[in-house]
């Protein structure tokens, strides 16, 4: 078995506690993800000194959606294709929302839920498995009080 490698270099660290890697401006403290080589994105800051920083491993669900159709290339779908969920997460401390695929069942997921970062295999090619960051719902949350919006328009 070939060792796994990240599907993209420098955007996250794998291991026991996976984390996204962004940049933080040395001068004004602004964060940016994905990491970028050039200037601080804050228009009032002229700094070009951005340092690597691992971002919060937890956050709150901003929204989520499950895709039921196979996307076009360059996405590499499993064969046969399986629906997958993408979740937008407001990070704990950085004031930003970051996308990622969801690990686990989206059935009980709601906007506002707590999630944490994990990593898993995105695809396997001739070079072996390629990993990507994912979001995972933190267990132990009450779901009974959150009825799923229904089809019948029973809204007041």
């Amino acid at each position: 078995m070939t060792a796994s490698r990240p599907a993209i270099e420098g955007w996250f660290v794998d291991g026991d506690e996976p984390a996204l890697v962004g940049k933080r401006c040395d001068e004004c403290g602004t964060y940016v993800f994905p990491p970028r080589a050039w200037t601080c994105p804050n228009p009032t800051c002229r700094s070009a000194d951005l340092a690597d920083v691992t971002l919060s491993r937890t956050g709150t669900v901003w929204s989520y959606t499950t895709n039921h159709y196979e996307p076009p290339a360059p996405y590499i779908s499993p064969d046969p294709f399986e629906p997958y969920t993408i979740v937008a997460v407001a990070l704990e401390n950085e004031g930003m929302v970051v996308l990622g695929q969801l690990e686990g069942d989206p059935a009980d997921l709601r906007v506002g839920d707590q999630v944490e970062l994990t990593a898993g295999v995105l695809f396997i090619d001739d070079d072996g498995p390629a990993t990507i960051w994912r979001w995972r719902r933190l267990v132990g949350q009450e779901v009974e009080q959150r009825p799923k919006a229904d089809l019948t328009g029973g809204k007041a």
Binding site: T30, V32, P72, Y75, I86, L99, Q101
Partner: protein, 395 residues
């Protein structure tokens, strides 16, 4: 300041014709010129809205259409701003007229689209966020639409039925539009039984990709008066704003929003800024509108736009819809053309098509989909990579 007049508008019908996009553009241009009563040889400036799906001729659309119509020595520009390309092309033409650099400008956009999901440009391009979002996440365009729709459900209690009602409303109007692709009034049941794409959005909640072409002829008011051209429809504002940092709503094709950790939350989200800039320039507000044409890439997104253009407060769009306010005959009809739901999207032509519809409405030429007594119309749209697009026309 002098004003800019919409002298003529024209469209090649939307569909999946599979022919060269130049053909649609030329057809739309000739219709707009005929509508204005202006000869092609009198056009001084050609403003093309580019397509990136039809090779080099699409990247230089202004010159491509000029050559197809026959070289006249007219000056030319070509603009690309994704879905907002048409509004940018209008903005460029209008600015030249306002600057006194020309009196007659032709704006044209047309597209031929492939079947299925819009995909990124081919090849191995790991430094292009548009390529990477497909590669690393499978974040199709409809993914972003699905995120917005789900957020409305969990935050505001929107339902799949609400989304279906938008589609039904727009298809009821669009069936009367000879330029629309789908001349069919869909039912709630048809929408709710169509295949799930990006949950909670189904196939019939999502706009298709279409072929089509649209054109407008803009002239200075001085030229219009000198040539007995009706000055009925005026361009009151064109907004092509970019976001103000930090843009805190996740947008195509991005992996993340900007960070508000240092800069603080913005006063207005970007999509609100787009219409706000247009209202400011026109000296008008949402209460002045007779109708609006908004970019319903998904039927749920139309509800977001109600709030973004100020028709109601956040969370109240479903009520506006269900009270019939935004239907034909309602207080403020939205997408009387049928919107993208009835057209499908022909990217560089779409923002121009929105302007064509508003012009026809203000002239009272919209037949069965006419908004009675229309005097002010707004278009709103957004192109990926930070392009705002909003045009206000007045009578």
């Amino acid at each position: 300041m002098s004003s800019v007049i919409v002298a003529g508008v024209g469209m090649h019908p939307w569909g999946k014709w599979g022919r060269n996009f130049v053909e649609y553009g030329v057809d739309a241009a000739r219709k707009a010129l005929d509508d204005a009563g202006i000869a092609w040889t009198d056009v001084q400036f050609v403003s093309g809205a580019d397509t990136v799906r039809n090779g080099y001729p699409g990247y230089v659309a202004g010159a491509t259409f000029a050559q197809a119509l026959g070289w006249t020595g007219a000056k030319v520009a070509s603009s690309y701003a994704a879905c907002a390309s048409g509004a940018t092309a209008i903005d460029v033409a209008r600015a030249r007229i306002l600057a006194g650099m020309c009196d007659v400008a032709l704006v044209v956009g047309a597209d031929t689209t492939p079947k299925g999901f819009l995909a990124p440009t081919g090849g191995d391009r790991p430094d292009d966020p548009d390529w990477l979002r497909f590669r690393l996440l499978g974040a199709t365009n409809t993914t972003y639409f699905g995120l917005y729709a789900r957020r409305r459900m969990d935050l505001y209690g929107a339902t799949e039925l609400d989304f279906a009602r938008v589609k039904v409303k727009n298809s009821e109007a669009g069936q009367h539009n000879p330029n629309a692709r789908y001349a069919k009034a869909f039912t709630i049941e048809e929408v709710l039984s169509s295949p799930m794409v990006s949950e909670p959005l189904r196939l019939l909640n999502i706009c298709a990709t279409s072929d089509g072409g649209a054109a407008v002829v803009l002239v200075s008011d001085v030229y219009a008066k000198a040539h007995d051209i009706p000055t009925t429809v005026k361009v009151a504002a064109v907004s092509t704003v970019t976001p103000t940092y930090p843009n805190t709503v996740i947008e195509m094709p991005n992996f993340a929003t900007d960070s508000s950790a240092v800069a603080g939350l913005p006063g207005r989200p970007f999509r609100d800024d787009i219409a706000h800039a247009a209202y400011e320039e026109a000296g008008l507000g949402p209460e002045d509108l007779s109708l609006a044409e908004v970019y319903d890439l998904s039927s749920a997104l139309e509800l977001d736009w109600y709030e973004n253009i100020g028709l109601c407060a956040p969370g109240e769009a479903e009520k506006l819809l269900n009270d019939g306010d935004t239907s034909l005959g309602g207080r403020i009809p939205v997408n009387p053309s049928g919107g993208l739901g009835a057209f499908g999207e022909a990217v560089p032509a779409q923002a121009i098509a929105q302007v064509c519809e508003v012009a026809w409405q203000l002239r009272g030429q919209s037949g069965a989909r006419q908004v009675e007594g229309a005097r002010v119309g707004l278009t709103a749209n957004q192109g990926l990579f930070g392009h705002g697009s909003s045009v206000i026309l007045t009578k």
